[in-house]
Each structure stands twice: as C-alpha cells, then as structure tokens.
Symmetry: D2
Subunit: 134 residues, 4 copies
Amino acid sequence: MRIAVSFDAQTLMSTLGARLMSVADGEVKIALPFSERLCQQHGYVHAGAITSIADSACGYAALTMAPAECEVVTAEFKVNFVRPAIGERFVAIGRVQSAGKLLTVCTGEVRAYAGEAYKVVAIIQATIVRVTAA
Amino acid sequence: MRIAVSFDAQTLMSTLGARLMSVADGEVKIALPFSERLCQQHGYVHAGAITSIADSACGYAALTMAPAECEVVTAEFKVNFVRPAIGERFVAIGRVQSAGKLLTVCTGEVRAYAGEAYKVVAIIQATIVRVTAA
Amino acid sequence: MRIAVSFDAQTLMSTLGARLMSVADGEVKIALPFSERLCQQHGYVHAGAITSIADSACGYAALTMAPAECEVVTAEFKVNFVRPAIGERFVAIGRVQSAGKLLTVCTGEVRAYAGEAYKVVAIIQATIVRVTAA
Amino acid sequence: MRIAVSFDAQTLMSTLGARLMSVADGEVKIALPFSERLCQQHGYVHAGAITSIADSACGYAALTMAPAECEVVTAEFKVNFVRPAIGERFVAIGRVQSAGKLLTVCTGEVRAYAGEAYKVVAIIQATIVRVTAA
C-alpha cells in the first residue's frame, strides 16, 4: 500500500509511462510499454529509461523489507546492458538479496517482451539505504 | 556534429528536457533543467533521470574518441548518488579515462546548480563498447 | 581441463591458498580456507581476498562458454560485501548470465561456511571480455 | 597514525607485499612491488591483487575523514581493468569524493610503474560505511 502511494508520487514513472505491476515481500515488478519517446539514437529504449525502472524496482523491493517508519534511498547501482532494449514492453524485477539494518542489497533484471516470450536486456545490482522518514 | 545529430535522435533526451551543452575531445556535457515531471517520491529528481544524462554524457564522450566508422553502446555503468538531486538545473559531465580499441572507460559526475553554485549529486564510472555502424 | 591448467598458472590463487572446486558449463566454484594471512584489521578475511576468488570464479565460468581458441580477461566487476567475511572456509561461485560474442556477464557470490552451514558474504556482477589467444 | 596501525594489522597486505606509502587528508597511497606470487595465468598481476590495494587505499582515504571514534568498512566497489597489470611496481591511490555522515564515496586508480613512468591499469569507485568502533 505505501509502495503504491510512493510509486504514484514518482512523477518520472508516469512521464516514462511505467506502472507498478506487482509487490511481494522482497520482490517488486514494474512494467514499461515501449514508446518512441524513450529511445536512444537507434530506436531502442534508452539505457536511462531501462535503468529508471530497474532502480525503482530495487528500491521498492528494499522498502518491502524495511520497518514502517523507514524510507529508502538508492546509494548506488551498477547495471549491465546485455542486449539492445527491443520489445513491446519491458518488465523490471528487483529482488532483495541481503537486508541489513542500514543497507539493503538488491539484484534484478529487465526483461524485454515480444508477446509472452522475453529476453533479459539488463542486469542490476543495487545498494539501498534506509533513512528515517521525517 | 555527428554527436549533435545522434543526440537529437535520442528521444528520451527530449522527453526529459535535456540538451547537449558542450562537446570537446574526450568530454561531453549535457544539461537538464529541473522539472516536476522527473521526480521521485520526495520531489527530488529521480536517480533514473540523473543516470540518463550521465550515461549519455559518457557515451558521447567515448564517441568523440572513436573512429568515424564506429558507433558506441553502453556495456555497463555504476553510479553513486551522493546527495539528493535538488537544484534548478543539472549538468552531467562525461570524460574519457581510457580508450582502447574495443572498450572505452569513462568517469563523470552530475552537478546540481542553484544559480552559479553547484554540488555534485552523482558520480559515474562507465564502460562503453565500440561497434561498427551498419 | 584448460580451466584447471589455467587455474594452476594463477600464482595468486596458490599464494592465497585457493583451489578450484568444480567446473560445469557456465558455473565455476573456487574454495578458500580461512587463513590468518588473508585478513583485514579486525581479523576477518579482507575484501581483496574475497574478491580475488569471486573474480576468478566469474572469469572461469565465462571461459567454460568460450570457443576453444579464446581466452578471457576481466573488463570490470562490482562487488557488494554484505556481511563480515567470518568463516572456516569460503566458496566463490561464478555463473554466466549472458554470453555474447565479445562480452560475457557473470554474477556470483561468496559463501562463508561454518561446518555445512553458510552465509553469503559477497555478491559480484562482472563483465568478462573474450580475447583471441596469441 | 591510526591508519598505519590498522594497515599493519591487515595481514593480507603483508601477504601480498604491499606497504602504506602516503596518507594525507582524503588521499591514501599504497605500493605493491611486482611479485611472481601475485599473477594470473599470463604472468600479469591478478585483478584480485590490484583490487586489494585499491580497496585498502579507498578505505583508508575514507578513514582520514572520519571522526576518531569511527572505523570504516567497504560496502561495495566497482573496478575497471583498463590495461594488463604489467610493471615493476604498482601504486594504488584512493581519494575521497564525498564524505557523508554514513557513507563515503571514494574514487581511485592503480598505476603500473616502469621506472618513473606509469600507466593507469585500474579505476575504482567505492562506497565505504562508517561504523562505530566497539
């Protein structure tokens, strides 16, 4: 619930056309339909758009494991782009690998779908910090 | 010149409101004015938007060092977010650190400006691959 | 076979006391017994020793997927240290996630064992380049 | 002073043959002479040995900016290997880029020397966490 509210407050997500797809303990999925507004010079989706949904998926996955009084911010991430981001829609999955008192480490991937088939186009490893909400 | 043409073809850059600010051998700057359309849940600019301009700045910095018949794609990057992205405008700087025949390594930063003063909000280290244009 | 030969030629591995534990298609494990010679200032195993076996495990995992005439070198990696490296022995696992013609992306982890139980102490994401052997 | 004491307690550093070279506010250098005991399969110094001194240089650079009652541990780092590590000796430099209350971000490089001339062989970006010493 707090994740849906927070997601709706992320104006970048609506600017990109992304939507929150699923939230489970330690795992969050975000969907992004292809749009010609999100591309790099070859017409593939830009690494920045792919990273945006991967980052939010990891951050919200971390938030599912955080106490109610905490919020989270991304300290850093690393993303590999393993294929051109070509597809009808993209799904970012963020998963908690380790949740410490302070730092949560998530891994995840972004899948490019053509119909029901997908290929992984990006792999992320992220460090999320818990902060006490004001 | 080829960089300006390529930048104009990156539709994500215009969707975000970013513009190419300067191109020199081994260094490219991209500017992004603050917009309420680019934020995360606290009203700061989203890590994904900051990363998008940092990635493009690094990619184009790499392209300044590549032979005319080559294009470049991002293999991977790592970004640290060292302060909330609060500012009137943001400037991403990408600089070539090492240009091999195949891989170019760039570092860079994103600065948040209030008037003429700035603070660094993000630090990037990226690996760019040269590909032969089709 | 070529992996065992190559591993034996890595003098750092014997200096650290590491040994090749298993090799399968796309997955390699390397074991490192605890030693007081490998520590940081608190008596835990140093991040550098943990990273050394994680890097070699990823590199050799990539090599299992490479044509016979190729060798591999590490272009870059990113490692998160999620717990102090305390244990009787450590096992690094490297797994291929994506094998392109040029770049292979591996992920992996290092486990710290106390008897048969283990905890993950490090998580790695690495980019390996194929090179043609001289 | 506390850095020299801590460095001497890092047994991996003496196992590798590394020594603390200089300590200044926000910048630390560590030297490592070439040794045949530190190599990968081609006779170059192993990425793990290069990373070990780069990590310690970054960690100690962070420690120079930390309050006296704090210690530091590495949360994560990312290293690019931009040339084969061939040289008579190697010098790792770690520099603080941003020191927050909790997280310090350092960048650095490892230089391979032949006489007085050097080439950069590795580039690091690291996140260091302050912890209260027990």
